[in-house]
Symmetry: C2
Subunit: 346 residues, 2 copies
DNA sequence: GTTAGCACTCGATATTAGTGAGTGCCAGAC
DNA sequence: GTCTGGCACTCACTAATATCGAGTGCTAAC
C-alpha cells in the first residue's frame, strides 16, 4: 500500500497533525478540532474533503459514521517514515540513561537487565533486550566436571565476566583426570580467543584429524565442539510488562493474555527481534506489520546494539500502536548505542 | 474469628455444600438450589434460617439483597480446615507428575522449572517453586578468576550440578597465581562438604586466627567467607501466570496489574512463601489472610519440599480464592514430595 | 423446629428518547 | 476550480424507565 506519493503537502500536514493529535488524546480526531490548527487555515468542510481522500487511500479510518478519524497501520507507517519530527532526548533522560548504564563494570547480564529496566521505566511501556550473541567475546577459562555416565558438566567463562554452563553428552565415559587434561589443553590453546575463532579452529583441527594428534587432544577438541556448537539466541530480558496493562488498547483480557503468553513462550518474540538484527538503525513494527498476531495491537520499536562495531543483539520497546514515536525512537536509538558502549570490554 | 464450635452438624453440612457449589458454579448460591440437595431434606425457608445464622457468624455473605450467598474468607477457612473431603489424585495426573519430574537427572534448576510448569499445567493456575536453600548441598569445586581491581569472580559447583557465580570484593588485589592457590586450598579442604558445614568451618578457622596459619590460607578463608556468606533465598520459578488472566475474580485490570507487579518484584512473594517453610505440610492462605494486598483476591496453596529430610524450599499454586481446593491440596502435597525425591542426589 | 406464603429488594436486561459530535454532500462564494 | 456555509443524517453514548425474576426476611400456621 505505497500510496504516499500522490499526496500534496497539505494532505500530508493534515495527516501529520491528525496522527499527532490522536497519539496525544487517544480519541478519534474530527474535522472541527483540526480546523483549529493555526497552520491549517481551512474550514471543517474542506478538511473533511481531505480526510475523505486520506480514508480512500487507507491512511485513516472512521470507527463509525459519527466519530472522527483514527490512523490506520498504513497511516502510522507513513507518519513514522516521512512525517515524524523526532524530538531530541530530554537532557534529564539522557542523564538517567548514562547514569543508569554506567554502574561499575559488572557482569554483562547485569548491564542488560539495567538497560531493559531503563527502557521500560522511561517510556512507561515494556522494554526488551536480547542476550548478546557470543561471537566476538573471548574465552577466559573452561572446565569440565564429570556427571553420571557419559554426561559432562562444562563451565566456561568469557571476558564479559559471564559464566556459562552446559551439559554435554560424550561418546564415552571420561575419568576426572582425563577431563582435567582436556580442559588444560583447551585452556592453553583457546583461551584469549573469540568464540567465533575457536569454532573455526575446532573445525580445522577436526579436519586433518587422526593423523598426528594424540587421542587426548582429539577428545578435548570433540568436547569443545559440543560445547561451542552454534546455538541460536533464544533468550531476552523483559521489563515493565505490567506497564502494558491499563493501556486501553490492551484492556481486552483475551488479547492481553495472548501477549503475555507470547512473552513467556519467547520463541515468537525472539523470531521477531531477530529480524531487526540486520537493520541499520531503528526499526519499527506497527500493529499487524509484525505478522505475529499476539502483537497485533502493539508496536515494537527496536535498534540493534553493537560491541566493537559488530552487531550482537537487539533492544526495543513494546507498547500500544498509539505511542509517542517521536520520543521513543530517539530513546531506543541512544540506549542501543550506550548499551553497546557499556558492554565494550575495557 | 474462631466460631466454628457452636455450629451443629447440619449447619456445617450446609456450609460445606454451599462452598462446594459456589466453587463449582462461581455464582451466589441461593436457598432454593441448596434445598434440592438430597441429603439436606429441608425447605428453602429453613435453609434461609440456617444461612442467616452462618451470615451472622461471618462465614457467608450476600453480595446484595436478592442474591444467594457467597463464602467469606472465614467461610473458606472453616471449609478447608474441617469440612473438605480431599479427592485422591487422579491416576492420570499422578502419572503426569511422576513422568514429568523423572526426566534424566539434569541440573537442579531444570527440575524446578519442570515442577513449576507441572503445577500450573495441571491446575490451570499459576505454579511457583522457590529455589532450594543451599545448606545441605555439598561443594564439588570452587574457582576464582580476577576481575578489575579488587573484584574477584568466584565460581563454585555443587553436587546438584548447579553452577553458581558471584562477584566478591576483596581487601586487596590478588594475582592470578594467588587466586589459584587459594582455590586449590579451599578445594582440598572444603570439597565434598555441605555448605552449612563449610560456613561452620570458616567461622572456626577465623576464630583462632593469625596464630599458626599462613597468610595465603587466611586470604583463602576470607574469600570463602565472602563467597558462602548466608544469603536469603530471594528467587523463585513461576509458571502459568497467564492462566490467572481470565478468572473473573481477577478481571479487574488494576488488581491484575498489582498481582503481576508483585510477581516481578519477587520480594513480597518470597516473604510470603518463606512463612510456609516451617509448616509441616500443606499450608493455605486464603484471600486477605496473606496480609499481602496484591494477593487479596487470590489463594495460595503451598507445601514445603525436602531433600534428605531437610526442608529446603516451598512450592505452591496461586489461583483465585474460588479454586478446587479438594484437588489442588493433594496435588501440591504430592508434587512437593516428588520434587524432593527428584532432587535427591543419587 | 419446620414450612408455606407473601411482600419486598435489587441486579440484570431491554426499551426508549434525547443529545451531540461528526459526517457527506451540495450549492453558492471567491 | 477551490473553498466554505448549510443541512440532513448517522450513530455512539447517556439517562430514564419499565419489566423480570431470583432470592430474601418475616410471619403465621403446622
Amino acid at each position: 500500500m505505497a500510496g504516499g506519493q500522490d499526496l500534496n503537502e497539505r494532505s500530508l500536514y493534515l495527516l501529520k497533525t491528525l496522527v499527532e493529535r490522536y497519539i496525544q488524546d487517544g480519541q478519534p480526531v474530527g474535522s472541527r478540532l483540526l480546523s483549529k490548527d493555526p497552520q491549517l487555515k481551512l474550514s471543517p468542510a474542506s478538511i473533511r474533503n481531505v480526510m475523505a481522500d486520506l480514508e480512500e487511500m487507507g491512511l485513516i479510518h472512521s470507527p463509525h459514521t459519527s466519530a472522527g478519524r483514527v490512523p490506520t497501520v498504513s497511516g502510522y507507517r507513513l507518519f513514522v517514515d516521512s512525517l515524524l519530527t523526532v524530538k531530541p532526548l530530554a537532557s534529564s533522560e539522557l542523564d538517567q540513561l548514562q547514569h543508569g548504564l554506567k554502574g561499575q563494570a559488572d557482569k554483562a547480564s547485569d548491564v542488560l537487565n539495567k538497560a531493559s529496566k531503563l527502557l521500560s521505566d522511561v517510556t512507561r511501556m515494556a522494554g526488551v533486550v536480547t542476550l548478546p550473541r557470543r561471537e566476538s567475546v573471548t574465552l577466559r577459562h573452561i572446565e569440565f566436571l564429570p556427571m553420571s555416565n557419559t554426561r559432562v558438566l562444562v563451565i566456561f567463562v568469557t571476558d564479559d565476566q559471564e559464566v556459562h554452563n552446559k551439559i554435554i553428552h560424550t561418546h564415552k565415559q571420561f575419568s576426572p583426570a582425563e577431563l582435567q587434561q582436556a580442559a588444560n589443553y583447551l585452556n592453553s590453546v583457546y583461551s584469549g580467543r573469540s568464540l567465533a575463532k575457536i569454532r573455526d579452529l575446532i573445525v580445522r583441527e577436526m579436519e586433518h584429524d587422526q593423523r598426528q594428534v594424540n587421542q587426548g587432544m582429539m577428545d578435548a577438541v570433540n568436547m569443545a565442539q559440543l560445547t561451542f556448537s552454534e546455538q541460536p539466541n533464544d533468550d531476552y530480558v523483559l521489563s515493565g510488562e505490567t506497564n502494558l496493562m491499563g493501556f486501553s488498547e490492551l484492556s481486552d483480557m483475551e488479547r492481553l493474555k495472548q501477549l503475555f503468553e507470547a512473552f513467556s513462550q519467547k520463541r515468537g518474540v525472539i523470531h521477531l527481534l531477530d529480524q531487526c538484527l540486520q537493520a541499520e538503525g531503528v526499526q519499527i513494527f506497527i500493529g499487524e506489520e509484525s505478522g505475529y498476531s499476539a502483537f497485533d495491537h502493539c508496536s515494537l520499536v527496536t535498534a540493534p546494539y553493537s560491541v566493537n562495531d559488530e552487531v550482537v543483539g537487539v533492544l526495543g520497546v513494546i507498547g500500544p500502536t498509539r505511542m509517542a514515536y517521536e520520543k521513543v525512537i530517539p530513546f531506543v536509538d541512544v540506549t542501543a548505542k550506550l548499551l553497546g558502549a557499556a558492554l565494550n570490554p575495557k
